[in-house]
Subunit: 163 residues, 2 copies
Amino acid sequence: MTKLELQAIGTIHSPWTQTGGMPIQPRYAQDAEGTVEVFASFVPGLKDLEGFERVWLLYWFHQAKESRIQVKPFKDDTVRGLFATRAPCRPNPIGLSSVRLLGVEGNRLRVADVDILDGTPLLDIKPYVPEFDHFDIQRIGWLATASGRTMSDHRFGDTKEKS
Amino acid sequence: MTKLELQAIGTIHSPWTQTGGMPIQPRYAQDAEGTVEVFASFVPGLKDLEGFERVWLLYWFHQAKESRIQVKPFKDDTVRGLFATRAPCRPNPIGLSSVRLLGVEGNRLRVADVDILDGTPLLDIKPYVPEFDHFDIQRIGWLATASGRTMSDHRFGDTKEKS
């Protein structure tokens, strides 16, 4: 089997330099602004991106400790299956955030609603497209009765909690 | 820098055994059903997942050819920056699809709205949560005037086109 190896294509800069007290989702980030620095060889791939209002960032949870298969997530006091949460301590520590795109200047994206730790390695940028990404659904499992917590603490060590 | 290495945590089984004529997004998959097989050591992570109506699948575009930084996407006749498209030939070939969860039986998820090639390595499962994943936006760049095509052809070689 081919080795599944990734490369950082840039670095995410944000106001969040530690895991305590940072937002656990873009929805809770209260317009926090950041910068996505894209390494030079990938800059031609940014063409046409500025027309989009939001983009998905995929990134590497670089401060996540070893993966756990069940966790007590931030919004609950019960141990849940990892894949039923957005916790960072995943077998493949890939984060996913929809951020607001304020502008593209050279190799830098100015973004808002940032819930990502400063210095995080960037893996991918995809346009956010309602036709592809919006589904009207009702059932959200344990999150239907979850707490209203929106900020992280240090329970996952040096990284943030995602749900 | 730490090596960014992934591991397959399962395999996605679907009706789509070749890249021509398959849906380019879950939205266009017309209820096509598939099975997500999760390798044994990750099964405890599926606890609590069944309560969710949809899940995000992250997966490895295993049939994608070498990455290109600009592409002529399926829904357009103009060359676009790769990051303004959902094309599979990405520097980090990670696919993202929101599929409908029909049931969880042991190490298998029955899913619908599958736009993923049969045999694709699974990287992650995350719950689909409207509060986290829905954003009402207006601007969708070049896709605002894109074609209505919803099925792939072979333009990206042995893999499918995503947008």
